[in-house]
C-alpha cells in the first residue's frame, strides 16, 4: 500500500529525515518510535504533504501512485489520514459542519454524491459512540476550547467518520490520561479492517499495550535504526533508546 524508499526531507538547509525506507501493507499496524527530535513527526507530516517540509530525495508510492506528487488534499481524498499531534482550532465552524465538508469532499473526489445533513448526522452519531463522545460536541466549533483529551478524541472521531485507508496517528497518546488512552485505542482497534493500515507514531510504549503493532521501527537522527516485531517495543521500554542511538549502531541498515 505504502512504499517509502530512501526518503530525505527537511526545512530549509536542515535535513531531518536522512533516508527513510518503509513498507506498509494492507491490514498492518506499524509503530514508529524514537527519542524526541528523531524525525517521527516530520515523517508523519511529510507523508501528509505539509508545505513547510521540502523533500530532497527518495520516493513514496501509495497504491501505486507517486504520493509526493499529490497535493495534500488529494492525498486525503485518496484515503490518507493524519491524526494531528496538535489539532488546530477553527473558531465559528462547527465540528458537524467541518466533518460533513470533509466527508463530502472525499466523496466528491470519488465521484459519489454529497450526503445530506440528516443522513450524515446518522453516520456521525454512530461513530460518536465509538470514541465515547457527547453529541453536543458536534455543535461546538472545531477544537476551539477543547481540552487536550477532547482534541485527540475528536481526531479519532474524524478518522472514524472518514474511514481512511491509511491512518497516521502522530503522538495521539501524548497528554492523554489512561482512560482517554483506552477510549482512543478502542476507537483505532475497532476501525481496523483487512484492507486498511495504520501507522502509530509514539514516544512511549504505553499506547502499544492497547494498539498492538505488527511491526515496530525505531527512528533516530532521521534514520530507521532498528525494525522488529511488537517485542521490540517492550525492549525499548526496558532499555530506553540510548543503546540504539550509539554512533556505531546508528549507521547500521534497518
Amino acid at each position: 500500500m505504502l512504499t517509502v524508499s530512501d526518503l530525505r526531507a527537511g526545512i530549509a538547509d536542515n535535513e531531518i529525515l536522512r533516508g527513510i525506507s518503509l513498507t506498509v501493507n494492507e491490514g498492518e499496524i506499524h509503530a514508529i518510535m524514537g527519542p524526541n527530535g528523531s524525525g517521527k513527526s516530520t515523517l508523519a507530516q511529510v507523508l501528509a504533504g505539509h508545505p513547510a517540509y521540502e523533500v530532497t530525495a527518495g520516493t513514496a508510492t501509495y497504491d501505486g501512485e507517486d504520493l509526493l506528487a499529490m497535493a495534500p488534499e488529494e492525498r486525503a481524498q485518496k484515503g490518507l489520514f493524519l491524526a494531528f499531534q496538535y489539532p488546530v482550532e477553527i473558531p465559528g465552524v462547527t465540528n458537524a459542519y467541518f466533518l460533513r465538508a470533509a466527508y463530502n469532499e472525499i466523496r466528491k473526489a470519488r465521484g459519489l454524491d454529497e450526503t445530506d445533513p440528516l443522513d450524515f448526522l446518522q453516520i456521525v452519531e454512530d461513530r460518536l459512540k465509538l470514541v465515547d463522545m457527547d453529541p453536543a460536541m458536534l455543535n461546538r466549533a472545531v477544537n476551539a476550547g477543547f481540552s487536550g483529551g477532547e482534541k485527540k478524541r475528536n481526531e479519532i472521531l474524524q478518522m472514524a467518520v472518514l474511514s481512511p485507508r491509511l491512518a497516521i496517528l502522530d503522538e495521539t497518546d501524548s497528554g492523554l490520561d489512561i482512560d482517554a488512552l483506552r477510549v482512543v485505542a478502542h476507537g483505532v482497534n475497532s476501525l481496523r479492517r483487512p484492507d486498511n493500515a495504520t501507522i502509530v507514531v509514539t514516544h512511549y510504549q504505553r499506547l502499544l499495550q492497547y494498539i498492538v503493532p505488527d511491526y515496530v521501527h525505531v527512528l533516530a537522527a532521521g534514520r530507521i535504526v532498528r525494525s522488529g516485531g511488537k517485542e521490540l517495543a517492550l525492549e525499548l521500554e526496558a532499555k530506553g533508546y540510548d543503546w540504539l542511538t550509539e554512533p556505531d549502531v546508528a549507521g547500521a541498515p534497518a
Partner: protein, 478 residues
Amino acid sequence: MSSTIETLVNREYQYGFVTDIEADTLPVGLTEATVRLISQKKGEPDFLLDWRLKAFRRWQAMREPHWANVTYAPIDYQAISYYSAPKNTKPLGSLDEVDPELRRTYERLGISLNEQKRISGVAVDAIFDSVSVGTTMKHELAKLGIIFCSFGEAVREHPDLVREYLGSVVPYSDNFFAALNAAVFSDGSFCYVPPGVHCPMELSTYFRINSAGTGQFERTLIIADKGATVSYLEGCTAPRRDTNQLHAAVVELIALDDASIKYSTVQNWYAGDTEGRGGIFNFVTKRGKAAGARSKISWTQVETGSAITWKYPSVILQGDDSTGEFYSVAVVNNRQQADTGTKMIHLGRNTKSTIISKGISAGHGNNSYRGQVKVMPRAAGARNYTQCDSMLIGNQCGAHTFPYIEVGNHTATVEHEASTSKIGEDQIFYCKQRGLNAEHAISLIVSGFCKEVFQNLPMEFALEAQQLLGITLEGSVG
C-alpha cells in the same frame, strides 16, 4: 502555491464593465452655479435649493478631515463632475420603459428590473450614476401605504415628509463629506413606512457608478413611523478604472416609537488593482436616530470593495429603552485601506447597544476599527457590549483598533472585548489534510470568523456575502 491559486489571485473584478450609454454629464468643477444647476435639473422646490446652498457655503469653509488611518493623494474637487445621468430619463410610466441598455446592465449585475421576475421578494431602487433609473414593486408597497421611491420623486410627491426629516439625523454641517453631499446630491432612495405596518419584503437600493470622472453623491432617507418595521439592503459596484472615483453618500434613518429598521450593506465597489491604482473612495456618512421609545436600529455591513473606506454607521439612542446594533465585516486585500466602525450615542434611559466588528486584512491591506461609545448623563442603565476581532492573512497587512469610550452616567455598563488572530499555514493544512482545497479552507475559516455578523444578514444576502468574501480573499494565503 498552486496554479489554481495563481489564477484566483488574478481573477478580474466581475463587475468592472462599462455600460456604453449616452449621458448628460455636467462639466467638471464645483461652484454655486453647479449647485443651482443640479437643483434646477431636478426641478426642486425652493426649500431644497436653499438647504443645498447653505450646505455649499458651509462646505467651502470646511477642511477635508485627515484623522482617519488612511493615506491617499489629495482630491481635486474641481476635477470631478458632480452630475451624470443617462439621457432620456424622464419619469417613466412603468419599468418596461427603462432603456434596454440599462436593463441589461442591471441584469449583468444580477438585478432584475422586470416586474414579472419577482425573485426572492425584494423591491429594488436602481441608482445609475447620479439618478434612479427605476424602482420595482412600488405599487404592491403602495397598497400598504409604504412609500418607496427615488429621492427625486419623494421631493416632488412627498415634499412635507422630505422637509421634515431631511438633515434631521445628519445635518449638512455634520462633516466635510456630508456637507459636500448636501450641496450636490443628485438622487437616492426614499422610504416611509406608516404606523404599525411591517414591510412584507426586503427593500433594496443598488448603486452603480458608470461614468468616468464623476462622483456619486446620493442620499437615502428611511423613516419607520410608530410600530413600523422595515429591512433594507444596499449593494454597490463600479467599473474598473485607473483613476480614483469619489463616492460620498449620506444615509439617514429615523425610527419612531416601537419602530425597527434593519439596514444591511454589501459593499463591493471596485477596489483598485493589486498595485493600488484606481478604485472608489468610499467616504460615507450613515447614521440612524432611534428617536422613539423602544425603537431599534440595526446596521449590518459587509465591506469588501473600495480603495479606501471611511465609514461609521452610527446610532443615536434617543428614545428610552431603544436599541442600536452594529455588525460589521470589513475586508481589505492588496492595497485597500479601511477605517470603519461605529458610534453609539446613548441619550435615553436603559438604552442598549451592541457592536460586533470583524476586520480581515490580507495582502498589503490596512484595516482600522474606530468606534465610539458615549453614554450621556441622562442615560441611566445604558448598556453597551463591544466585540472587536481582527484576522490577519499573511504578514504584510495591518489591523488597528481605536476604541473611544466616554461614560457620563455611573449606572451604565460598557464592555469591550478585542482579539487578533492569524490564519496560519497550519489551519489551512489541517483543512487540506481533511480533503478540502485551499479555496474551500479559507472560505470556511473566514466564514467561521464572521459567523456572528453573517447570521444577521437577510438570507439571500448572507450567501452573497460569503461568496464575495471568498472571492476577495482567494489567493491571499500562500
